[in-house]
C-alpha cells in the first residue's frame, strides 16, 4: 500500500503582490519559494517551521485552492494546472484538508450531518439514504456517535470538532489529507487522541498526510519524513529518525534546541545555537542564505550566495556550512 507517489512538487513557488494601490506598485512577497518534495501513500510528511515560513501557503497550493506562481505540482500523476473540469474535479476529490482551528472550520449554521454530507452532495450521485449511511459510518469511524449528527458544531468540544473536521475530510475517500496544524489548538490530552485517530485512519485507509506543524514533539510522534522550512524555502529534508538524531542545518539544530524538555534528567546539554533575532520579512529577505543574519556559522559566502539543496545520504540540506564541513 505504501510507496505510490501521490503528490510530487518541484520548485513550487507562490508569490503574492502586497500593498500597492491605484498608483503604487505593490511589493512581491515570496510565501513559498522553491519547495520540492514527494509524498507517498501511507506516509506522513511533516512540514515544520516558524510562523510566516510558508507552511500554510503550501497547504493552499497542495489543496489547489491557489495556483502556484511557478514550479510544478503533480497530484496522482496529473498537473492540476490547465486540465479540463472533469479531471480537476477528480483531483479535487483526492486531496482534502483539516484546518487548525476547529471553531472556524465547520459551518456554524449547518448540522454536523449536513456538514459531513456536503462533499457527497457536491461530488457524488449518492441518494439521500446512501449519504446518511456513509455519514453514520464515518462518524463511527472517527469515534463519534451517529446520533450526534443532529447537533450543531457549537455544541461540541474542540477535540470532538476536530474529529468532525477529520471525518469531513475523509468523506470523499481522498488519497492525500493536508493537516494544517490539526492539533495545535487542542489541549495536550486531546491532541494525543486526535493524533492516534489520525494514525489509525492512515493505517486503515493508506492515506498520505501532509502534516503542517510548528510543534516538534507532535511531529516526532507522527511524521515519517520531515521538511524544515525557513522563509518559504526548505532548508532541510529527511527521514524523521535521522533528522532528530543528527540535525545538519543550523536552523534545524536551533529548532530542536528550542523545544522544551519535560524531563530534567534527560535535559540535553544546552545547545548554544538557540535562535536570536526575529524572522526577517519575507517581502525583503536577506541576501544570500536567508538564514544568515541569525546563523552562528554564517560567513561571507552565506551573505552573498544562496545555498541550493544538496543531497547528503538520504537527506537534503541547503547550507554552505554543511557543504564545506564547517561544523559548530
Amino acid at each position: 500500500m505504501t510507496g505510490e507517489v501521490v503528490v510530487a512538487a518541484r520548485d513550487l513557488c507562490r508569490y503574492y503582490t502586497v500593498g500597492g494601490g491605484l498608483f503604487a506598485r505593490g511589493q512581491i512577497l515570496k510565501a513559498v519559494d522553491g519547495a520540492s518534495f514527494t509524498l507517498r501513500t501511507g506516509r506522513t510528511l511533516a512540514v515544520v517551521g516558524e510562523s510566516g515560513c510558508g507552511k500554510s501557503t503550501l497547504a493552499r497550493l497542495v489543496t489547489m485552492v491557489e495556483r502556484p506562481s511557478s514550479g510544478r505540482l503533480e497530484i496522482c500523476g496529473t498537473d492540476p494546472v490547465g486540465v479540463d473540469r472533469e479531471t480537476k474535479r477528480r483531483l479535487r476529490r483526492s486531496v482534502q484538508i483539516v484546518f487548525q482551528d476547529p471553531y472556524g472550520s465547520l459551518n456554524p449554521r449547518q448540522k454536523v450531518a449536513t456538514i459531513l454530507a456536503e462533499p457527497l452532495v457536491i461530488n457524488t450521485r449518492k441518494s439521500a439514504r446512501e449519504r446518511r449511511e456513509a455519514v453514520a459510518a464515518m462518524m463511527r469511524r472517527v469515534g463519534l456517535r451517529p446520533e450526534l449528527g443532529r447537533r450543531y458544531p457549537h455544541m461540541f468540544s474542540g477535540g470532538q470538532r476536530q474529529r468532525i473536521a477529520v471525518a469531513r475530510a475523509l468523506m470523499l475517500e481522498p488519497a492525500v489529507v493536508v493537516l494544517d496544524e490539526p492539533v495545535s489548538a487542542l489541549d495536550l490530552s486531546i491532541q494525543a487522541q486526535v493524533l492516534n485517530l489520525l494514525e489509525d485512519l492512515q493505517a486503515e485507509l493508506g492515506l498520505a498526510y501532509l502534516f503542517i506543524s510548528h510543534d516538534l514533539s507532535v511531529v516526532r510522534y507522527i511524521a515519517d519524513e520531515i521538511m524544515v522550512m525557513y522563509l518559504g524555502r526548505p532548508v532541510e529534508q529527511g527521514p524523521r529518525e535521522a533528522l532528530f538524531a543528527e540535525p545538519l542545518h543550523p536552523y534545524t539544530r536551533a529548532l530542536l534546541a528550542a523545544t522544551p524538555v519535560a524531563d530534567p534528567r534527560r535535559r540535553r546539554r544546552r545547545d548554544r545555537s538557540a535562535l536570536g533575532g526575529e524572522t526577517p520579512s519575507p517581502i525583503d529577505p536577506p541576501s544570500g542564505c536567508p538564514f544568515h543574519p541569525r546563523c552562528p556559522l554564517a560567513d561571507a559566502r552565506c551573505r552573498r550566495e544562496r545555498p541550493e539543496p544538496l543531497q547528503r545520504g538520504d537527506r537534503q540540506v541547503a547550507c554552505h556550512a554543511v557543504e564545506e564541513g564547517r561544523g559548530p
Binding site: 493552499r60 489543496t63 489547489m64 485552492v65 474535479r89 479535487r92 476529490r93 486531496v95 482534502q96 484538508i97 484546518f99 487548525q100 482551528d101 472556524g104 472550520s105 465547520l106 459551518n107 456554524p108 449554521r109 449547518q110 456536503e118 462533499p119 457536491i122 461530488n123 469515534g143 463519534l144 456517535r145 446520533e147 450526534l148 443532529r150 447537533r151 450543531y152 455544541m155 470532538q160 473536521a165 469531513r168 468523506m171 470523499l172 495536550l188 490530552s189 491532541q191 494525543a192 487522541q193 486526535v194 493524533l195 492516534n196 485517530l197 489509525d200 516538534l216 514533539s217 507532535v218 516526532r220 510522534y221 523545544t259 522544551p260 524538555v261 519535560a262 524531563d263
Partner: protein, 307 residues
C-alpha cells in the same frame, strides 16, 4: 522531549449523546423572551396583523363610506361624539377607526414588500460584490455610496417623480433608498465569512460559486440582515406615510395612514382627532416594530450574545 508518549490513553471513543438539544426555534424564543419590550412589541405586531387580516369583520364601517349627516364628528368621549363613530369622522364623513383598521393593511404590506425587495436586491448585489472583489466590488460600493449620500426621502421623491405617483412606485422608490444598507451589510458579512476556514473547506470539497454563496456563506450573514430588515420595516412605514403626506404615495381615497394625514391637514386646528389618530397608529406601529428589532438584535447579533 515533551511530546505525546507512546503510552497514550486510547481515543475516547464513546462520547455520550446526552439529551436531545433544544431546537433552534426554542432556543431563540428562550433568549427573545428575556427582553420584555420586545415581547410587547411582538404582541402588538401580531395584533396589527390580525387586524389587517380581519379588517372586514372588525371595522364598523367600510373605509370609504361617507356619512353626509356626520362631517367631522368628534370621538365618542367628547361632546357631540357618539358610539357610531368611536374615533370620530373626517371632513367627508368617513369613520376614522375603520379607515385606520383598513389602513393597517397598506402599511404592513408596504413595509413587508419594501423589505423583501431591498433585501433580495441587497443580498444579491452584496454577495456578488463580496465574492468578486477587485474593480466590480469597488464599482458597486461606490455606486452604493452615491445612493447613501442622497437624503432618503429626497431620493424616493426623485424616483417617484420619474415613475409617477402611486402606491407601487412609491414602494419601489423606498426599496431603492434602503438598498445600499443591505448591500453594505451583506458585503461586509460576506468578506468576514470568506476568510474563515469552513469556506475554504467547502471550496476544497469542490463547491461551486452558487453553492458557496447561498448555502455556505449566506446563512452566516443573515443575523445582521434580519435585524436591519426589521428596523428598516418601521422606517419604510414612516417614509411611506411621508410620501403619502406629500401626495406622492398612495392616492386618495386609499385609507393609507400617511395619505389620511395629508387629507386632514386643513383641519388640524379645528378637529384634532382627524390627524391625531392616524398619527398615533403610525407611531405605535413603528414603536412596536423597533422594539421587535431591538429584541432580535439582542438575540441574533453575535457580538451582543452572552453565552
Amino acid at each position: 522531549m515533551a511530546g505525546p508518549p507512546e503510552t497514550l490513553p486510547e481515543a475516547a471513543a464513546d462520547i455520550t449523546a446526552g439529551p436531545e438539544p433544544p431546537g433552534p426555534m426554542r432556543e431563540f424564543w428562550h433568549h427573545y423572551r428575556q427582553n420584555r419590550g420586545a415581547v410587547v412589541g411582538l404582541g402588538f405586531l401580531v395584533f396589527l396583523v390580525l387586524l389587517a387580516l380581519f379588517a372586514d369583520f372588525v371595522a364598523p364601517h367600510p373605509p370609504d363610506a361617507q356619512y353626509r349627516d356626520a362631517f367631522l364628528t368628534p370621538p365618542v368621549w367628547q361632546e357631540g361624539g357618539s358610539w357610531r363613530f368611536p374615533l370620530g369622522t373626517d371632513a367627508t364623513g368617513r369613520d376614522i377607526l375603520s379607515r385606520i383598521v383598513f389602513g393597517s393593511r397598506y402599511s404592513l404590506s408596504i413595509g413587508f414588500l419594501v423589505i423583501v425587495l431591498s433585501l433580495l436586491g441587497g443580498i444579491t448585489i452584496g454577495l456578488v460584490a463580496g465574492f468578486s472583489g477587485g474593480w466590480i466590488d469597488s464599482l458597486v460600493m461606490r455606486l452604493m455610496d452615491v445612493l447613501i449620500a442622497i437624503p432618503g426621502l429626497l431620493l424616493a421623491l426623485v424616483v417617484v417623480a420619474i415613475m409617477g405617483p402611486g402606491l407601487f412606485n412609491a414602494m419601489f422608490a423606498i426599496a431603492i433608498v434602503y438598498l445600499p444598507h443591505f448591500v453594505r451589510l451583506t458585503r461586509a458579512a460576506t468578506l468576514a465569512e470568506l476568510s474563515r476556514d469552513y469556506v475554504t473547506g467547502s471550496r476544497v470539497a469542490g463547491a461551486g460559486l452558487p453553492r458557496l454563496m447561498f448555502v455556505t456563506v449566506l446563512p452566516n450573514c443573515m443575523p445582521p440582515l434580519i435585524v436591519q430588515a426589521t428596523l428598516s420595516f418601521s422606517t419604510a412605514v414612516l417614509d411611506m406615510a411621508a410620501l403619502g403626506f406629500l401626495g406622492m404615495g398612495a392616492q386618495p381615497p386609499t385609507p393609507e395612514w400617511g395619505t389620511m394625514l395629508a387629507d386632514a391637514r386643513e383641519f388640524i386646528l379645528r378637529a384634532w382627532w382627524v390627524v391625531t389618530f392616524p398619527g398615533m397608529a403610525i407611531l405605535l406601529t413603528v414603536l412596536a416594530i423597533n422594539l421587535v428589532g431591538d429584541g432580535l438584535r439582542d438575540v441574533l447579533d453575535p457580538k451582543l450574545k452572552r453565552s
